[in-house]
């Protein structure tokens, strides 16, 4: 370790400065704006008198709180579905795919490389009144008129986002399963455990941290979604994120939008804290 100490400031310094300036300071600015008197568009010189009125407004507006609850619920459903569907995929890749596992893994990840927007569009095209599913049903003579409920609804948002997240969702579970010692399973077999007993009592407990990591890694970005709800959700499928985005574009109200963003940030940090409590990070990160 000779000749290094003096270099620390050159190695750790730049990332510290960049991340403080462009990650920490911006988050602090949300807090600053959210406690700032006034509404609409506020420049740096428009006064910084402190107030909690924006939080009071968000908390006392039932429509906002309802959307927040719905967004948490929607994101939870999406994260659970993605985890549950990805679990057998990861299991197959780890224990059954054998030497072809790397090839299968690439096949699984290719859809994740397809543009996010393009994949949302694919579902919009399929779910629409003149879209793939409806016209196929009609062509097969199964329906007389298009099913309207497919597009512009909350289920459309859920289907689309579960689809988008499945390939990624398999990765943390796959990583956890790869670290399961085969000896444990052999030992369980020697002691008389059948395939199901081994699955429930060895594989599941040892892969649970991976599954929980998947849940949180899907939940966090999804709870703040606004692009997919905008494209396939319609008025019934909008989420909390759409309101925040609206306050910085169409109906500009920066302090109110900041208070809403702040509430979402605190909520996410609480979720992260809970996640860190129940998952041993070092085991997931390897």
């Amino acid at each position: 370790m000779i000749g290094r100490r003096g270099l620390l400031k050159f190695v750790a310094g730049p990332p510290f400065v960049v991340l403080a300036a462009f990650f920490i300071v911006p988050l602090v600015l949300i807090a600053a704006f959210s406690f700032r008197e006034g509404s609409g568009v506020l420049g740096p010189s428009d006064g910084w008198a402190p107030t909690t009125e924006h939080y009071a407004e968000v908390l006392s507006t039932p429509a906002f709180m309802r959307l927040l609850g719905l967004s948490v619920l929607t994101a939870s459903i999406i994260a659970v579905l993605a985890t549950v569907l990805a679990y057998p995929v990861a299991y197959f890749l780890t224990f059954r795919a054998g030497r072809r596992a790397p090839l299968y893994l690439i096949l699984l990840l290719i859809p994740f490389a397809v543009s996010y927007l393009l994949r949302v569009m694919a579902w919009k095209l399929m779910l629409g009144p003149e879209g793939g599913i409806n016209s196929l049903l009609a062509a097969l003579g199964l329906t007389d008129e298009p099913l309207q409920l497919l597009l512009y609804s909350r289920p459309a948002v859920i289907i689309t986002l579960v689809y988008i997240w499945i390939p990624f969702a398999a990765l943390p579970i796959y990583a956890a399963m790869q670290r399961i010692e085969r000896h444990h399973l052999e030992a369980a077999a020697d002691l008389g455990a059948g395939p199901w007993a081994r699955f429930w009592r060895v594989t599941v407990p040892l892969s649970l941290p991976g599954a929980l990591a998947t849940f949180f890694l899907v939940f966090i970005p999804t709870v703040g979604e606004y692009v997919t709800p905008d494209l396939v959700g319609g008025t019934d499928g909008i989420m909390y994120g759409n309101i925040i985005q609206g306050f910085f574009t169409r109906s500009a109200n920066w302090p109110l939008g900041s208070a809403m963003a702040m509430i979402m940030l605190v909520l996410t940090l609480v979720v992260v804290a809970i996640a860190l409590r129940i998952i041993d990070v070092r085991r997931v990160a390897g």
């Binding site: 000749g3 750790a12 462009f22 990650f23 300071v25 490389a113 543009s115 793939g132 890694l217 900041s258």
Partner: protein, 262 residues
């Protein structure tokens, strides 16, 4: 596994069904991009390459693709550099604030993009910096840092620090040891990290919507044009062409990361 039986759950069937479900919508887009109609209705209306031909003449679309390319190259390079410095600092130095640095480099992954979008928006408003490709590039650098850091950290933690010490015993300065010993070994991983950051930026929209000025990135351009149903096939054709590029990159990343386990 040798010698122990399996449950009879048809996992291979499940996996194949999953792949079909994952590829079906993408396949339909591909079909749609050759279909002579502006809606995806069955039966299809006939084969055309007209949409692909119009991509070439679509100036704004090509400009947006070029913008995304520039932003992605710049932010991937910056994010990989920052990620490499963080990985080196955390694994090769002991100092107070080590945990803090690691947390700062990882946390952007755990903040919803709409919140980060607001955060950057307010930063640039407060600094009176006009939104442009530069502001998008800054935002994308920050969200790509966790990916670069995690990938490089994982590889560097498997590399014996004695290698650098040996190089330094032989008279190399620390920067020279990093450049001539660590970097060559880490090469494929650094490239994989760079490509991952590139894709993160190239495809990113939720942050970019908050940060673009007059010059859109490709996803923002696409998003803005989606209202016009007539233009949909051309947009999809353009996006399909770019998709082939990102798929090639993903296969490359996976291969680079496989190689490191040898």
């Amino acid at each position: 596994m040798i010698g122990i039986g399996h449950t009879r759950v048809p996992l291979r069937g499940f996996f194949v069904a999953m792949l079909v479900l994952l590829y079906l919508p993408i396949g339909l887009l591909f079909v749609f991009s050759f279909n002579a109609a502006t809606t995806l209705s069955f039966p299809l209306s006939g084969f055309t390459t007209e949409w692909y031909a119009s991509v070439i003449g679509n100036g704004p679309m090509l400009a947006a693709a070029r913008n995304s390319l520039v932003v992605a190259v710049a932010s991937a390079t910056l994010a990989t550099t920052i990620g490499a410095l963080v990985a080196l600092a955390v694994l090769r130095f002991s100092f107070r604030g080590r945990g803090l640095l690691l947390a700062m480099a990882g946390l952007p992954l755990l903040v919803p993009y709409v919140v980060l979008g607001v955060a950057f928006f307010l930063l640039f408003v407060t600094l009176d910096i006009h939104r442009s490709l530069l502001t998008v590039m800054i935002g994308h650098t920050v969200v790509a840092v966790p990916f670069a850091t995690l990938i490089l950290l994982a590889r560097l933690s498997g590399l014996d620090p004695a290698l650098e010490d040996a190089a330094m015993d032989l008279g190399a300065s620390y920067p020279a040891a990093v450049r001539r010993v660590v970097l060559p070994i880490m090469g494929p991983t650094v490239l994989a990290a760079w490509l991952t950051c590139f894709i993160v930026s190239f495809d990113e929209i939720a942050l970019a919507i908050f940060l673009v000025g007059g010059d859109p990135t490709f996803p923002v351009f696409l998003y803005g044009q989606l209202r016009f149903a007539q233009r949909l096939p051309v947009l999809i054709a353009g996006a399909v062409l770019l998709m082939l590029g990102t798929i090639a990159l993903t296969v490359l990343i996976t291969r680079l990361q496989d190689r490191r386990s040898d």
